[in-house]
Amino acid sequence: DAGVTQSPTHLIKTRGQQVTLRCSPKSGHDTVSWYQQALGQGPQFIFQYYEEEERQRGNFPDRFSGHQFPNYSSELNVNALLLGDSALYLCASSFGRALYNEQFFGPGTRLTVL
């Protein structure tokens, strides 16, 4: 049983460009959350998707958007990249939105903005 998978593993972009990151949740999971983790920091919540809709959003600008597909996979899009967007982007999946459900994290996508 594959766990949470993310692609690509690493990505290098320049300022002003746009990027799309992808996540496939663990089999049987229907909820996907995205986090940004800067070096030396804990993960910061970006948003959560459930039933193909954004259900919760953290303190991130509209440049960060997402999508969830009928097969529960998800994409994170970031427009007009800034140097400060360089980070590890983590996807977490669970069954249901409740946070007493165990969150399974993927290995992350390392984004570098030059």
Binding site: Y35, G42, L90, E102, P107, G108
Partner: protein, 114 residues
């Protein structure tokens, strides 16, 4: 604003000893508190969840306490082993509107020396 502090950035202990990590929070009343382990370049791995009405929870060599009066959680690893070396993150989750929002601390890097 909500704030989570983990006692130190790094903790060095000798193999066989008990490691104790601290998570303090302010301006928040979490319904759940979770502990995760994160290895370099990997996503966090869920370890334990404790609810606000639970004082203590155990899993094998791990023990978590949750004191809502002190606004503090303690995470213990007994009979520590070099394989326990990793960064440990605490995360808080609230009720209702913040269902999808896990708030993470910066983590404590634990090194267990043989």
């Amino acid at each position: 604003s909500q704030k989570i502090e983990q006692n130190s950035e790094a903790l060095n202990i000798q193999e066989g000893k008990t490691a104790t990590l601290t998570c303090n929070y302010t301006n928040y009343s979490p319904a759940y508190l979770q502990w995760y382990r994160q290895d370099p370049g990997r996503g966090p791995v869920f370890l334990l969840l404790i609810r606000e009405n639970e004082k203590e929870k155990r899993k094998e060599r791990l023990k978590v306490t949750f004191d809502t009066t002190l606004k503090q959680s303690l995470f213990h690893i007994t009979a520590s082993q070099p394989a326990d070396s990793a960064t440990y993150l605490c995360a808080l989750a609230g009720y209702g509107g913040s269902q999808g929002n896990l708030i993470f601390g910066k983590g404590t890097k634990l090194s267990v020396k043989p």
